[in-house]
């Protein structure tokens, strides 16, 4: 059963790889930008699919046969000792060369280079503020989002 599944996935991978090769050859041939864009989109889809198949495969291969990854480092959740008052936080707005910090649940996070915070703004919100309420109303189970941000300190009231 297990082997069957793995074989099927391998078949899909081969098949998709052939498709990718084919699309790439077609890209050399087509002259007009419209068809190029369509092919490019197909290529993206196929590459995404390959990524998916790769993940699927790892769920079927017994742990012992997988290449050993270094054990995942425990995310550094210790909060640095630095503290911010509301006034200090209000200065790190991401404007004029300052970094962009926000506070959620009393923790201050750095969003300077966070993709969703272009120009230190996010859906009408600006950096330099305590956004606990806003965060709660838009990402009610959003701890995963917070875990990806780097912590710079604590907000003191």
């Amino acid at each position: 059963m297990q082997n069957n599944r793995i074989q099927m996935i391998q078949f899909e991978i081969n098949y998709t790889t052939n498709e990718v090769n084919n699309y790439m050859r077609m890209l050399y041939q087509v002259g007009d930008i419209y068809n190029k864009n369509i092919l490019l989109n197909h290529l993206w889809e196929k590459v995404n699919y390959l990524g998916y198949l790769n993940q699927l495969m790892t769920t079927y291969i017994p742990q012992s046969q997988l290449p050993q990854k270094p054990s995942p480092t425990v995310p550094n959740i210790t909060v640095p000792n630095k503290t911010f008052t509301k006034e200090e936080l209000a200065k790190v707005t991401g404007k004029n060369g300052n970094p962009a910090y926000i506070a959620v649940n009393g923790v201050v996070y750095d969003v300077t280079n966070n993709a969703a915070w272009a120009a230190a703004t996010h859906f009408g919100l600006s950096a330099g503020n305590d956004l606990t309420q806003e965060f709660k109303s838009c990402h009610p189970s959003g701890q995963r989002i917070l875990d990806q941000l780097s912590v710079v300190g604590r907000l003191v009231l």
Partner: protein, 233 residues
């Protein structure tokens, strides 16, 4: 296969004769697809947005949308204003403009946000409805065919973003993140579909994405451009 019953810019009839077509449709048993452009103004009984006159009285968008929406087989909100209010509903929103869903809360409204909507997004949706009777939607009722990936996911400048190489002014050929690019929060297929006969798109023209196809545009996507921005990484 299809009959275009009413389109204010494409039909030959004018004035009450044009509105007559809508009234005939509502009073018949014909099945029809309703596509709405523009927001619905709600203040003063909708008098801020009048689409025509009927029997001497102004016909408001509010009234027309409710009347047609109740009977339509499929409803498509085309563009930012129809999907969520868009510019019409921008602060302080003096006309009380809302998106179509707000006044048709119990109906399935297919949403095609974008300012403007790409012609393909609309015609593709329409074609899918005609051919298959449905189109696969995401949780916010956008067709997955066109709105499934963020612009940032497939942006040709993504490598610059990953390397932290950012444009400082318009016209630079690197990642436009520091200028306020909304590509990371906007879902469309712009990077591979492109605009104006499929030749270019904002990022290809070295200006940041302003998030025109994201809910809450324009207020929540502002500022569209910033120069006094964050530190260098």
């Amino acid at each position: 296969m299809t009959e275009l019953v009413y389109s204010n810019s494409l039909m030959a009839a004018e004035g009450e004769r044009a509105i007559q077509k809508l009234m005939d449709l509502v009073n018949s048993d014909e099945e029809f697809i309703l596509a709405v452009e523009g927001a619905i103004a709600t203040k003063n009984d909708g008098l801020f947005n009048i689409i025509g006159r009927w029997q001497g009285e102004p016909l408001t968008a509010l009234k027309a949308a409710k009347m047609l929406g109740e009977k339509a087989m499929h409803i498509i909100a085309v563009g930012a204003c129809a999907t969520h209010g868009g510019f019409s509903a921008a602060k302080p929103n003096p006309s009380g403009s809302v998106g179509l869903q707000t006044i048709l809360p119990d109906k399935k409204v297919i949403k095609l946000p974008g300012c403007p909507t790409h012609p393909d997004w609309f015609l593709g949706t329409l074609a899918s409805l005609l051919m298959y009777g449905e189109i696969e939607l995401d949780r916010r009722d956008r067709p997955l065919l066109f709105y499934s990936t963020t612009i940032h996911d497939r942006c040709p400048r993504r490598t610059y973003f990953n390397q932290g190489i950012f444009a400082k002014k318009l016209g630079e050929k690197t990642c436009l993140f520091k200028l306020g690019c909304r590509g990371p929060v906007t879902r469309t297929d712009c990077p591979t579909r492109q605009w104006d006969g499929y030749v270019n798109w904002p990022i290809g023209a070295d200006t940041p994405c302003i998030g025109c196809a994201q809910f809450g545009f324009p207020d929540q996507m502002s500022p569209f451009i910033s120069f006094d921005t964050t530190e260098e990484s």
